[in-house]
């Protein structure tokens, strides 16, 4: 289960992370694609700009070449002019031959060489053009360039002067043609692309050479490019790792320039811009990564905090459930304790026998301890749920101290401890505050001191300091000579359920809530708790609580005041009889009815008992009652509903005082009941004095015969005496169980029923034991049927629960063997449910073996019960 949760948590986390990573990558891919796009765009734009630059440079180069040509042409033309003017052609030709060119010659219209070198035959067309007055430059493959100019004789042309440039001289002529060291450049015919010269021998056969057409690669594009432009350039990424191809017209020649320059040679300087852009984009990417990482962790943290929050909610829910459970449990437990204490009270009143009274006293003591524990838990749950309220009123400090001292003095004495009390005589007696809670606080710290002091004494010191505005800081200290508290444990002292030094204190009873409640209460009252302790030597708890002074009259000598109070108390302890009074008690729990009935027996009132709200309403119609005690929680219609219906009846009924009985004695409940229409309310377990007070208060005075305390009946005197002697009683009597176990088993000739045990659990009341026994036997079939059903269904959980119930009930009626058998089976059942899987089969086998036994033993018990208690069990 836990492992599953963990793995599902992990799965969730992984899924979450995977989603985030996916998102991250999708975005990254998107960004990278975008970056690529921008990069490409940048490059295109840059290349477009570079193309212009390259074109301009190509134009410059071509202009230089054109100028070179032009000067050659001029040289030739001036030579022609020289000949026209009569200079000897031979002289002219020799003067221009070998000066940048190879050779020169003069030719007549009929093709005959007049002077200089002879021309090749195939150039007659060129000569013809020159004979028509044109200056012609033509390239002849393998021969070179021939430039020809006309030589005039008057208006007309007599000769043509030409000059030849072979490849070597051409190279000189175009020596400025290279743009860059790494550029490949061709000079070619503008129309045909025929290559006149190239700067690199390697150009033939490589990518820059169009072998098929014997022209430079991309010549057509360049040629088209120079239409209407002097020069052009175009970037070709596919051409040998990227080259700019450029072309430029060489003016007044039939040639053009076609060149190729690697991208990086041109872009080298601009590259840095490119890199800056890339760098910025990279930075952007980095920022993005950081941002994503940040949001990733943030999201993860958010998810984690969600989980924490969930965990916290879960814990809070669990805590709430625990508190509710505790509140409910304590409420539930108070009901049976009510019964126990009530009946015990009855025993104490009615039994004169010394032994029984002793036991009953012990029951009362244990019961009250239990009740105080339950009250602790209730208080705790109230504090936890914030429902604890302070009920402030005027009170007598001495009275509080008196109550407390009586209580603790007794306990200390019982333990053989000395108990001293020192009260500052100047303290004001009349204070305003929550008397009950102050009492609780004092009792807690004093009880604590008594509990943890094995020998020595406990000193209770009451002091105070008057503050301004009529407040008193009441200082209550408990000084003991007990075991003390280790320094490191002091922090844990006030934690819930914490019990210190468990090894050493395992014998000491308690819930571990006492100090925690104390601290909470003190804080609620605006005070504080201080602890001084030396481990092994003793502790001092000091509680400081601010209280308002109602009357400055000092408390005086406390001992004397205690005595006075004791006297008053006795004086007020009036009893009464009211034989004419009619009382209706409504409770769905017969035990409670029984208790109230018993408690009121002494007052001789006429009691009518009722098991439900409906019965109650019926009774109210029939008869007039002086007071109605109405239980709050009942099936079908609850106390409040019953009251409302009763009040609706009007008349006498509406004027009858209704007192709510409730075990749910939390704060505010009184107001709730009063607002619902109840006259008063009484907390369960019902305190006999409270019950009597209630009656005295609400019964018509003419029906009540008050018996003053001084003239108490014999019974009561005994009762009181018993109470007084009890504190001096020996400590062996503390545990009734121990007493019971010491008693010899009383099987009375039978094998199944240990009557003594049964009696012990029935409060040593034979009548009750018989009642229990009767019930136990009567429920036999139903119980067995349930167990059998669960057994047949293989429903081990219910089976175990039922067997567990049987175990307890059997023991309570003295069915010790049956109980033990049930216990063994229950243990097996638990092993099946919670134990290791490998033992399961074994345990099931065990149950199968013993199951039959169980019903057999139940039957045997029944038989024996029939035999031994024929008047009880049928």
């Amino acid at each position: 289960m836990v492992a599953n949760e963990v793995s599902s948590e992990q799965k969730k986390l992984y899924g979450f992370a995977a989603k985030l990573i996916l998102e991250f990558f999708v975005f990254l891919i998107f960004l990278v694609a975008l970056g690529y796009f921008i990069h490409a765009k940048m490059e295109t734009l840059m290349n477009e700009e570079l193309e212009k630059v390259v074109a301009e440079r190509a134009y410059d180069v071509s202009a230089v070449m054109g100028a070179k040509f032009s000067s050659e042409r001029l040289r030739l033309q001036s030579a022609a002019v020289a000949i026209e003017k009569g200079t000897s052609p031979e002289a002219v030709i020799s003067s221009i031959s070998g000066k940048g060119n190879d050779e020169a010659g003069l030719v007549a219209l009929d093709g005959s060489v007049v002077a200089g070198a002879s021309m090749m035959r195939s150039n007659s067309q060129q000569l013809g053009l020159s004979f028509q007055g044109a200056t012609v430059t033509t390239y002849y493959r393998g021969f070179g360039i021939i430039m020809s100019v006309p030589v005039y004789d008057g208006e007309n042309i007599k000769y043509v002067l030409y000059s030849r440039y072979n490849d070597i001289t051409l190279f000189n002529l175009f020596s400025k043609g290279k743009m860059e060291k790494d550029a490949v450049v061709f000079i070619c015919n503008r129309r045909t692309g025929e290559i006149v010269m190239s700067y690199d021998d390697s150009a033939h056969g490589d990518v820059f050479y169009d072998d098929k057409n014997d022209i430079p690669a991309l010549f057509d594009e360049m040629r088209a490019g120079i239409v209407n432009n002097d020069a052009t350039a175009k970037y070709h990424g596919e051409l040998a790792d990227g080259n700019f191809v450029y072309g430029a017209d060489i003016k007044d020649t039939p040639f053009m320039l076609v060149g190729y320059i690697p991208w990086n040679k041109v872009a080298a300087d601009i590259m840095s811009i490119h890199y800056i852009v890339l760098w910025v984009f990279g930075l952007l990417l980095l920022f993005f990564s950081i941002f994503t990482l940040y949001s990733f962790t943030a999201a993860l943290k958010a998810a984690e905090s969600d989980e924490l929050r969930e965990a916290r909610d879960e814990a809070e829910r669990a805590n709430k459930a625990k508190s509710d459970f505790l509140a409910n449990m304590s409420h539930e437990i108070r009901t049976p304790i009510n019964a126990v204490l009530g009946m015990d009270e009855m025993i104490l009143r009615e039994t004169a026998e010394e032994g029984t009274r002793k036991y009953a006293w012990n029951i009362k003591s244990a019961g009250e301890t239990l009740l105080s524990l339950i009250n602790d838990i209730l208080d705790f749950s109230k504090i936890e749920s914030g429902k604890m309220e302070l009920v402030e009123s005027q009170y007598s400090l001495s009275s509080v101290l008196n109550d407390v001292v009586n209580m603790v003095h007794y306990k200390a004495n019982q333990k053989g401890l000395g108990f001293h009390i020192e009260v500052d005589k100047t303290l004001p007696d009349s204070l305003f505050g929550d008397e009950v809670r102050i009492k609780q606080v004092i009792v807690n710290i004093l009880n604590n001191a008594v509990k943890y002091t094995p020998e020595g004494s406990v000193t209770f010191k009451v002091a105070g300091e008057k503050l301004d505005d009529g407040m008193l800081e009441l200082r209550l200290s408990s000084i003991d000579t007990g075991i003390g508290i280790k320094e490191e444990d002091k922090e844990k002292l006030f934690s819930n359920f914490e019990r210190l030094d468990l090894q050493k204190n395992r014998n000491i009873e308690g819930t571990g809530l006492g100090l925690s409640i104390t601290l909470s209460l003190v804080r609620m009252m605006g005070g504080e708790v201080k602890v001084d302790s030396v481990y092994g030597e003793g502790s001092t708890f000091t509680v400081s609580i601010p209280q308002r002074i109602e009357s400055p009259a000092p408390i005086g000598d406390f001992t004397r005041r205690v005595e006075e109070a004791a006297h008053d108390c006795r004086a007020h302890h009036d009893t009464f009889t009211a034989p004419d009074a009619k009382v209706l008690v409504v409770d769905d729990n017969e035990m409670n009815l029984f208790v109230v009935d018993s408690l009121l027996k002494r007052t001789k009132v006429q009691i009518t008992l009722c098991g439900s709200g409906f019965d109650c309403l019926e009774m109210l119609k029939k008869e007039k009652f002086d007071i109605v005690f109405l239980d709050h929680m009942m099936p079908d219609i609850d106390g409040i509903e019953t009251l409302h219906r009763a009040l609706d009846m009007g008349g006498e009924v509406a004027r009858t005082p209704f007192v709510a009985l409730t075990a749910n004695a939390i704060a505010g409940v009184r107001d709730m009941f009063l607002s619902e229409g109840f006259t008063d309310y009484l907390a369960k377990p019902i305190d006999s004095h409270a019950l009597e007070r209630m009656l005295m208060h609400y019964l018509p005075s003419e029906k009540v015969n008050v018996i003053p305390a001084g003239s108490a009946t014999e019974e009561e005197a005994d009762d009181a005496g018993e109470e007084k002697t009890a504190p001096q009683g020996d400590t062996e009597d503390k545990e009734p169980m121990d007493n019971a176990s010491e008693t010899a088993n009383d099987y009375g000739g039978g094998t199944e029923i240990d009557v003594a045990t049964g009696m012990q659990y029935s409060g040593d009341m034979e009548e009750m034991y018989h009642e229990f026994l009767k019930m136990f036997c009567a429920r036999r079939e139903a119980t067995l049927e349930k167990i059998e059903g669960a057994y047949n269904d293989g429903d081990w959980e219910n089976y175990t629960t039922f067997v567990h119930a049987l175990k307890s009930t059997a023991l309570s009626v003295g069915g010790v063997r049956l109980s033990e058998e049930a216990k063994a089976i229950e243990a097996a059942g638990h092993a099946i449910l919670d134990g290791p899987a490998e033992e399961k089969e074994e345990k099931i086998a065990f149950i199968r073996e013993h199951h039959e036994n169980l019903s057999a033993m139940y039957e045997a018990f029944h038989e024996e019960a029939k035999k031994r208690f024929p008047e009880v069990v049928e």
Binding site: F27, L127, F131, G133, E155, N156, I226, N228, D252
Partner: protein, 372 residues
């Protein structure tokens, strides 16, 4: 406590991411949009201004077709202005319109516009003007034409060997250089095969009119083969009507049975060359001219009409053409005008410049008829 569940958080985060993406896209999109370079590669516009309309046979139609095809070949937009007469406000208006439409080149298909252009060209420095004819030019103008006289020489060879009467008729508007060099070349060609041949020129005064009268006149003067220098087809139609063989000009009219051959020029190539800026010579005054001939393949004679062809015609033509192609100038050697003045010495040749603009004289052996 406010508890935000996983789903809401996820939704918020996804929304945030989406928003971020959209914003980033927007930013980047906007910035990238501003990156683009100015596009300068729009189609170039070229204007042409013609005296006639594009459908007029002969000169005008051939020019229109040629520039249209050249424009297609180079991917240019051709803007045409038709029926624009010189010395009118329409001409200036046409130029202005073309300029405002973004024309980078304006072709003028008549040398009649030259006077106005000599001062108009300067007003549009961004525009290159090209005008037909090589006789006169102005700075900034491109003069373009073909060396038709070479083809006329060849047609003269054909006519000279075919004439029976020894008289060749020639219809021409007026003795300007452009016309005279054609007549002279024709005469030279004819004389090269029949030295006693007589070329009779009938002037029409105009390019477009009086062709049929001239033809009648020439026929009346025993001319049995007629050549002409007219823009349209009037002369051709008249010769056909008269049943006289003639030398066609500019374009072939296949329905005319008496057309021996036609002198044509590849104007499309001419326009391509001009637009590509190649083969343009610079004259000393800074104007540029484009004047290709037989060697460049721009001017040629169509094959002799097979129905009329005589044995030896093509062979004679081929021989003459070979001479031209070898670079032998037409106007070279001893040349006398009809007044007996020597225009060229033996062993010399006449430069193109002179041929283009100075040759207003007529060769010895050419006779003229006045208008009747």
């Amino acid at each position: 406590m406010k508890y935000v569940d996983e789903e809401t958080l996820g939704r918020r985060r996804r929304f945030l991411l989406l928003l971020m993406t959209v914003m980033l896209l927007f930013c980047i999109g906007v910035s990238v949009m501003h990156f683009h370079a100015p596009t300068y590669k729009e189609r170039m516009k070229v204007g042409i201004i013609m005296q006639g309309s594009r459908g007029d046979p002969g000169w005008t139609r051939t020019h229109y077709r040629a520039i249209h095809d050249a424009g297609n070949a180079l991917g240019l937009d051709i803007l045409v202005r038709e029926n624009i007469r010189e010395h009118t406000s329409g001409f200036q208006k046409a130029i202005k319109e073309l300029y405002e439409s973004g024309a980078k080149y304006i072709f003028l298909t008549s040398d009649a516009y030259i006077e106005e252009m000599s001062y108009l060209a300067g007003q549009y420095p961004d525009v290159r003007f090209a005008i037909t004819g090589v006789e006169s030019s102005a700075p900034g103008l491109i003069n373009y034409s073909g060396r038709f006289y070479e083809a006329r020489y060849l047609s003269g060879v054909l006519a000279g060997r075919r004439t029976k009467t020894g008289v060749l008729g020639y219809v021409a508007p007026s003795p300007v250089a452009e016309v005279s060099r054609g007549i002279n070349a024709f005469a030279l060609g004819a004389q090269s095969v029949r030295p006693d041949v007589k070329v009779v020129v009938a002037w029409t005064g105009e390019h477009e009119t009086h062709g049929s009268e001239a033809v009648k006149n020439l026929v009346g003067n025993k001319a049995d083969i007629i050549a002409y220098h007219h823009r349209g087809r009037e002369v051709a139609d008249a010769a056909e009507a008269a049943g006289v063989d003639f030398i066609g000009l500019y374009e072939e009219y296949p329905e005319l049975r008496h057309c021996l051959t036609t002198i044509e020029m590849n104007w499309e190539n001419a326009y391509l060359s001009i637009l590509e800026g190649t083969n343009i010579s610079i004259q000393s005054n800074g104007s540029r001219y484009y004047w290709p001939g037989t060697i460049e393949g721009q001017v040629f004679l169509t094959p002799v009409n097979p129905r009329l062809a005589l044995p030896g015609d093509e062979e004679s033509l081929d021989a003459a053409r070979a001479r031209v192609l070898s670079g032998q100038p037409i106007f070279a050697g001893e040349l006398y005008d009809r007044h007996g003045r020597m225009r060229c010495k033996e062993g010399e040749s006449m430069p193109s410049k002179n041929i283009a603009s100075d040759m207003t004289w007529l060769l010895k052996g050419v006779e003229t008829l006045g208008r009747q």
